[in-house]
Symmetry: C2
Subunit: 327 residues, 2 copies
């Protein structure tokens, strides 16, 4: 089969590419070809057992979505997006990339003709929800996003469901939890500290914690996120049903529980590198975020969350640090 990954240069895109390259197939079918696109040319994976085409392609540009599906990929992982902070700062760009780009891709599929009807896995986000909400969010709660990013993802979920209903493609939207531990340099996202307080101490650096330890949130490791994408690709149309957008399971834990897990895995020298510096602005933003979800449908469909934050810390050490913790 031919697999297309959009947003392939992003963190999840790269990990998904590596996993698919390693597996050599998906859903019991060998991968015969892989196409990677992003606004910058993604790196082609080393040693792939199938041909890989990596190209820069901005789906929101005229004709770009048509080019992306011209070679008729059987399975599309649609990860391309402007992140939350940028979509809020640049209204036009957020709508252009996140809404128009996705719609262009759906339209290109619809108009391809010749019975083309690929499977698409669409990366949505828990940002489609907006406070106030119940402590544990049920699967049937309304979407009241409080960011333009969340609005764009929610619109794309609706479009995906309608295009699937009309028979233009076979699709699943998965709402990813906040991903921790994100590898790489600290960024300015309000959620950055959830990763930084683990990642930086493991590398011998100080991390700043701007909120209190009782802040509770909904997490998935990069490994779990890749697992969600692959599992979504394997589900049958009948199993998913008409409601194609699913809240992914996650690990609900507090910042204090994160720190305790870090201590268990890496000891007190690691946790001592977390500096408390309360920030009222960040605390207020975070207070509007969801804490926990039922995610009953996803669980029933077999999606697997991380089972402990210790495992999330350990996975980061294995996958990003070559198994070594800073002394």
């Amino acid at each position: 089969m031919h697999v297309l990954i959009t947003g392939a240069a992003g963190m999840i895109g790269r990990k998904l590419t590596a996993q698919l390259t390693s597996l050599g197939g998906v859903n019991g079918r060998a991968i015969e070809r892989m196409t990677l696109t992003d606004i910058v040319p993604p790196d082609a994976p080393a040693g792939a057992p199938f041909p890989v085409t990596a190209t820069a392609n901005d789906l929101s540009a005229p004709g770009a979505a048509g080019r992306a599906v011209a070679s008729r990929p059987d399975l599309i992982f649609h990860l391309a997006a402007v992140v939350s902070g940028e979509a809020e700062a640049d209204f036009d760009k957020g709508y252009l990339v996140n809404l128009d780009g996705t719609r262009a891709l759906l339209e290109a599929i619809r108009l391809a003709g010749g019975g083309y009807r690929p499977r698409m896995v669409f990366a949505s986000s828990i940002a489609v929800f907006g406070a106030p909400f119940p402590e544990t969010i049920p699967d049937d709660l309304f979407l009241t996003p409080l960011t333009s990013y969340g609005t764009q993802k929610a619109c794309c979920e609706l479009l995906l469901a309608d295009y699937v209903r009309r028979g233009f493609l076979d699709g699943v939207g998965i709402r990813l939890p906040t991903i921790v531990v994100r590898p790489g340099a600290p960024n300015k996202a309000a959620s950055g500290f959830f990763s930084a307080i683990i990642r930086e101490p493991l590398s011998g650096m100080e991390a700043v914690l701007p909120v209190s330890e009782d802040v509770r949130h909904w997490f998935a490791s990069p490994r779990a996120a890749v697992g969600f994408l692959l599992h979504a690709a394997s589900l049958s149309r009948d199993a998913v049903g008409a409601r194609v957008n699913l809240t992914m399971p996650g690990l609900c834990c507090t910042v204090g529980e994160e720190i305790a897990a870090l201590g268990r895995v890496a000891g007190p020298r690691a946790t001592a590198r977390i500096r408390r510096a309360p920030d009222a602005v960040i605390a207020r933003i975070v207070a509007g975020w969801p804490q926990s979800f039922e995610a009953s449908r996803a669980a029933a469909l077999g999606f697997q969350a991380d089972t402990s934050f210790d495992d999330i810390v350990t996975a980061h050490i294995e996958d990003e640090l070559g198994g070594r913790i800073a002394a």
Copy 2:
């Protein structure tokens, strides 16, 4: 103030125009000017105490939305839409008019500059909900539309909420119940019989009832719908809050209760003109429709539903038949 009505040539648009003309003002402010648009030129109301401009304007055409707000209306009733059946039959037209047209209007407002920040009342629909759902639908249920029309309305609700949140305009979306008794000729809409079994007998004609009398649905009279639009225009930003899209209250009743009301108002000669002709296709479509809503927020905000189906029948006789029932 300057009032713009889009979709002004439609049934609700004409009734809203007439009501505003009769009132001469809205929210305690005199109307100084009114602009009516639709894809065909709407009729200007006779004897309006203010200047009325009636023009054909397809909001989805390039530049049209900008022209619609160039004169900076203070209050916009955005009713323009392709109806459910047409949006399902013509995929492109439905998305173009219902989604792109509304987005173009929102964008034209955002880009108008100079502190322009009108109030918009957006006519949404209970078609944003899709079966299966609880017998009584709460305000916080998710939107899982089963038509392209419902999808387009749900996307527009999300866009409206985001544009309001960003401060580009002040808006309220109201989900209208099924409107009965619709005046005019029977149409082929699956919901047509809800009106036809009242309207036709009152005019001495036979009506066909394709479903059983225990079918239950959610109704508002044209009078109540106009009342919802005017009330929505009067609400303060603070009262509406962040969740600007509201399910309107309605009258929950069965087809049997409709017929009983017709009998009370117009006697057995009217009800005898209803011919039972079960239609499995229509019955199946109708089985997927909502039956009842809590509509708690709208009720708390002072929206007023019809209080009985007798009143709905009586209003139709007064407003459409000059008070006369066929013998």
